[in-house]
């Protein structure tokens, strides 16, 4: 099927002369001063739809392919008119699309950054030239006011392509040591169809990836129009493929072995499922999920401005916005005044047909969504909330909801805790800034927040305290391609936009195999020995304590313990594991941690978290240097331990210790130097991109480099203000456990680092599933890593499995260091507009 190009004819400029009926309307308008109809023409959009007889296929490999799947229709939610029909993409369709993308991948990378920049620039230009058609199509399909699609969705989408034309040009030089991840599967939602397409497609193409895009089943049209425009613009076949369909098609994209990365924007529940499905596959993943974003109004705010902010915050796009400021937290002293003003403002909100240029709110995207929102309202009412809506008539036909304010809801009510994704604002009060932060963070989500106060000291105190990827001070729903957008917690991970967004489409170029030198077990030189663990008899076979080290008459028996909350702790289970040296002889015992030890360690880390995060970089560096100092003093002893554990010769063992000392110096150095940035966003404001600590990081250590491989990630985590729960190497735990004495004497605050040994299969899953662990680093990369990824879906902690073994702990490169610092931080963008 070949779609015709839309022939857009201009509407006649000359308006017809006024007639008699018109005259009476003029006189009436003179007296009542109402807004008359101000419709945006839909002729061009209709012509475009008719040009393809209102039937769409998939866009695969540069051609339009008739779909074989069941037929689906998309309708305008404001009036129910049929817009077009399209197919649910089948696994075969997805397979074809992935193949096309795979085929296009090589040439797309070979043409280089500059050529890709030209393509992206051309896409931006082509979009711009057809911006009104896109706006009208978007509003018809989604139901959003044409004002929004015209002034926000489409211009922002265009801006993304311009911005990323820049990244295409710069990526080869700005991201040395990285390459594109490959074929990317992208699944986008229905609330900002073209904008979400731009957020996904632009960085992917800029990085050198090729794309299989699945638009939402309610709103496929702008993506199909985009495919047409991209085709016209000469984007090489297969670089962008669009397969329409519902969730089943999305699943096919996610499961397809050919997609190296999945980028998803949508609900947290679906995001969780995608996390589970991709677990263990090695697919890269970025998720931009739901939110219940706080909108915090202090008594020092310009209340009228804050009221307008609420309008922009929660009634933008009928509230169908992932970052909608749907939880109003207002200081008790101004609550009455704020709500009073807000209700008055709500009376003037106009709800109407999306193509009417004088409305504030359009239609809800689909009956299903409308029913869902009304269900929440009923539940809220049942919970005792007062539901207030302005007394204005809504359009009769179509799916419309008025702006809604809920007060007096108990904090446990679902209207307070759940993302409603509709025009519903819930209001709560607070007394102090600390309470405001506590309430703001009392949610599983962490996408965005808005803070209103004229007191900048207050704003800049509160902004870092709120767990959210974006914080808007005295503004809301501000977006720009130069500033990354993405969540904390169950709002997902990864950023879209800016430099931080580009990382999501790049992966480190893996070292050549064998590049990793090591204090790996000496026996590893023989291939057979690699598979045999240095533990002579696997504990799981023998059972605990069945192989104790042979007592040595002239040595005092040595007991290694776990290190939890700054204390050496015996394992909860009361078992130890025999540890064998490189020759297979059992020479020591290690405590066998269990799930309760994990619980205790995570608890201790949580206790230490806030304080450590607030320490200055200078102080964190001092402690890391001190650890290095004390480690260096024990160089010979630790080298000896390493030699015993791994069979490494004295030189190699010392090199491991020295590498550990050096990584402490390296990350101490970075503690006060891994600065954030200020983005160049095109508004009169400062957009701070702050590198914030992730929180509690679980670290699963590799067997090779049993010392440097522990110290390295711990130092990286600590330097950026994180706390760590470390699961040391299963095979070679002793050198790591001996580090406890070093850290104990180096002013490492209790709980900041916690060390666990044991059988990884017994402790790592508990850590991976723990809801108070914010990230997991896995340097082992085995089947258990896949399990961890699956288990992480509970709280959607990001799991980093170094599957390619890119980090060389013994000889860290600039790239490795930067990667660890980046993994150990999350970018929070704080928008602070200014002016007098």
């Amino acid at each position: 099927m070949t779609r015709q190009r839309a022939t857009t004819r201009g509407r006649a400029n000359d308006e017809p002369p006024a007639g008699n009926a018109s005259a009476s309307r003029v006189h009436k308008a003179f007296h009542d001063l109402r807004y008359g109809p101000a419709p945006e023409g839909d002729q061009a959009a209709t012509e475009w739809l008719e040009g393809g007889e209102r039937v769409f296929g998939h866009y695969i490999g540069g051609s339009w392919i008739d779909g074989a799947g069941s037929i689906r229709q998309t309708r305008c939610p404001a009036d129910g008119r049929l817009l077009a029909s399209f197919n649910d993409g089948t696994t075969d369709d997805v397979d074809r699309a992935v193949s096309a993308a795979e085929e296009a991948l090589g040439p797309w990378q070979e043409i280089g950054g500059h050529a890709r920049a030209r393509h992206l620039y051309r896409l931006a230009r082509r979009l711009q030239k057809r911006s009104r058609l896109f706006a009208v199509v978007e509003s018809l399909d989604n139901g959003k006011p044409v004002r929004e699609s015209r002034d926000l969705d489409i211009p922002l989408a265009i801006r993304h392509f311009y911005h990323h034309a820049g990244w295409a040009e710069l990526a080869p030089s700005e991201f040395p040591g990285y390459e594109p991840v490959g074929v990317v599967g992208q699944i986008i939602p229905w609330n900002f169809p073209l904008l979400m397409l731009a957020w996904k497609v632009a960085p992917a193409l800029a990085a050198g990836c090729t794309v299989v895009l699945k638009p939402a089943e309610y709103t496929p049209l702008s993506a199909l129009l985009f495919a047409e425009v991209a085709h016209e613009a000469g984007l090489p076949p297969g670089v962008l493929n669009v397969v329409t369909g519902d969730g089943a098609t999305g699943v096919a994209v996610v499961r397809h072995p050919g997609t190296a990365k999945i980028a998803f924007t949508g609900s947290t529940e679906v995001g969780r499922e995608i996390r589970r499905v991709t677990a263990g596959t090695g697919k890269h993943l970025s998720l931009e999920l739901g939110g219940k974003s706080p909108f915090v109004v202090f008594d020092s705010a310009d209340l009228d401005a804050a009221v307008e902010g609420v309008v922009d915050g929660v009634w933008f796009n009928q509230g169908q916005v992932c970052c909608a400021g749907s939880r109003l937290l207002v200081q008790e002293s101004v609550e009455a005044e704020m709500l009073d003003r807000l209700r008055a403002r709500m009376e003037t909100i106009r709800v109407g047909h999306p193509l009417d240029k004088a409305i504030d709110m359009g239609a809800i995207v689909d009956r299903v969504q409308m029913d869902r929102v009304q269900g929440y309202l009923e539940a809220g009412r049942a919970d005792g909330a007062e539901i207030w809506q302005p007394d204005r008539p809504l359009p009769q036909d179509g799916l419309f909801l008025p702006p809604t304010l809920c007060t007096g809801a108990p904090p446990s009510s679902t209207i307070v805790t759940e993302e409603i994704f509709g025009p519903v604002l819930v209001s709560l009060t607070f007394r102090t800034p600390a309470e405001a932060v506590a309430l703001a963070n009392d949610t599983r989500y962490g996408l965005a927040a808005s803070i209103w106060t004229e007191d900048m000291s207050l704003a800049l105190d509160v902004a870092p305290g709120i767990k959210a990827g974006t914080v808007w001070v005295n503004c809301t729903n501000m977006f720009d391609a130069a500033s990354g957008f993405g969540g904390y917690r169950e709002s997902g991970f990864g950023r879209e936009g800016g430099r931080e967004g580009m990382w999501e489409y790049l992966k480190p170029v893996a070292e050549k195999p064998g590049g990793r030198v090591a204090t790996e077990p000496a026996a590893s030189e023989s291939p057979a020995a690699v598979e045999a663990p240095p533990v002579a008899v696997p504990p799981s076979v023998l059972g605990p304590m069945s192989a104790s080290p042979a007592p040595s008459r002239d040595r005092i028996d040595r007991t290694r313990k776990l290190w939890i909350a700054g204390k050496q702790a015996r394992p909860d289970g009361g078992y130890s594991l025999p540890v064998a040296d490189a020759t297979g002889a059992v020479y020591a015992e290690a405590p066998r941690g269990n799930r309760k030890d994990v619980r205790n360690a995570v608890e201790a880390a949580a206790q230490a978290r806030a304080k450590w995060a607030q320490q200055s970089g200078h102080l964190r560096a001092q402690i890391l240097y001190y650890v290095a100092e004390n480690l260096a003093v024990r160089r010979e002893e630790l080298a000896h331990t390493l030699g015993r554990a791994t069979g490494a010769d004295a030189g190699a063992a010392r090199a491991d210790v020295d590498a550990a000392v050096q990584s402490l110096f390296t990350f101490a150095a970075w503690a006060d130097k891994y600065d954030g940035s200020v983005h160049s966003t095109p508004f009169r404001n400062v957009t701070f991109a702050m590198n914030e600590p992730v929180g509690t990081i679980g670290i699963r250590c590799a067997d090779h480099a049993p010392l440097a491989g522990v110290i390295g990630p711990v130092a990286a985590a600590l330097s950026q203000g994180n706390v760590a729960v470390v699961v040391v190497s299963e095979r070679c735990p002793i050198p790591a456990l001996d580090l406890v004495q070093v850290m104990e004497t180096s002013d490492v605050p209790p709980g900041t680092v916690n060390m666990l040994s044991g059988i990884h299969g017994e402790v790592v899953p508990t850590l991976a599933a723990h809801d108070d662990v914010d990230q997991l680093w896995d340097f082992v990369a085995d089947d258990l890593s896949g399990d961890s990824e699956r288990l992480s879906a509970g709280n959607l902690k990001r799991v980093w499995v170094d599957r390619e073994g890119v980090v060389n702990w013994l000889e860290m490169t600039r790239r490795d260091t930067e990667m660890l610092l980046r993994k150990g931080t999350r970018v929070k963008n704080i928008w602070v507009p200014y002016g007098v």
Binding site: A29, F30, E308
Partner: protein, 338 residues
Amino acid sequence: MVVRESATSVGYGPGRHEATATAHPRNPGAPLDLKAVRDVRVNRFAADHRARTLTTRRSVKRDSQAGWLLRAVTMIDLTTLAGDDTAGRVRRLCGKARRPVRTDILAVLGVPPAEIRAAAVCVYHALVPTACEALGGSGVPVAAVSTGFPAGLSPFATRIAEIRESVAAGAEEVDVVITRGSVLGGGWERLYDEVAGFREACGDAHIKVILATGELGTLANVKRAATVAMMAGADFVKTSTGKESVNATLPVGIVLARAIRDYHRATGVRVGLKAAGGLKTARDALAWLILVKEELGDAWMDPRLFRIGASSLLADIERQLEHHVTGRYSAFHRHPLG
């Protein structure tokens, strides 16, 4: 209240929030509430943002637009404030005020000419008698700029005397300027006393207090100054003299509207808003009308509560009205000069 009666005789229907459209109560003023003045908080970015989006959120087209533009005409204080103003110039302007739009255009629009006249004619003191004579019987009041307009830095007694003389000469409205230094120096009592003094000198004449917002430095100062002026009894707060380098901007309009709204919330009294300076196109006029409707409500969509001080604006509105009637874009020379 002669002026008001003639204005009501034009016959505006009741506003959405107002049951009656009879004589509009004047602002009796209120004690100076320093706390309210000092608590003022205005966020510039948010005001700018609101100003930017007000006119994209609302659109008035075709017949509605023609109706709105005619209403805008009735809100104009036709103004001439130049050193070379003469009796002849002022008489011509008054003629335009009596009949601002060609009657053939009004006929096609179906609006009786009696309903369309300017809100006032605004001149310097020396031309008040000429204007009063030229407007006699039209119901269009004469407004005098006063108190050492535009800088307002002549002796207080002189300024008071100037008001009295203009009122004696027949001015029914007086546009006074404030001492900007009182705002910039935080002299709120001084400002209050000054405006209260002006108000007293005005007697029955309505007082429009020009804040010269372009010279007040910050939007917060604009709101504070407006608040004090209203407490001191202003019937209108007015953006500018037209002589400052920055005149009536939409963000300033928003801030003034919100000050008026707050005063209404606190006292139940409706104070008027006058935008002056820089409004040149029909589009500007529509933007201000949208601002007033959205921020203040329909009660203010009335010449008793909203004025536009302008000289060239009317000509552009006339062109747009003719375009509405003929379907052809119009030219300035097709409309009688004001």
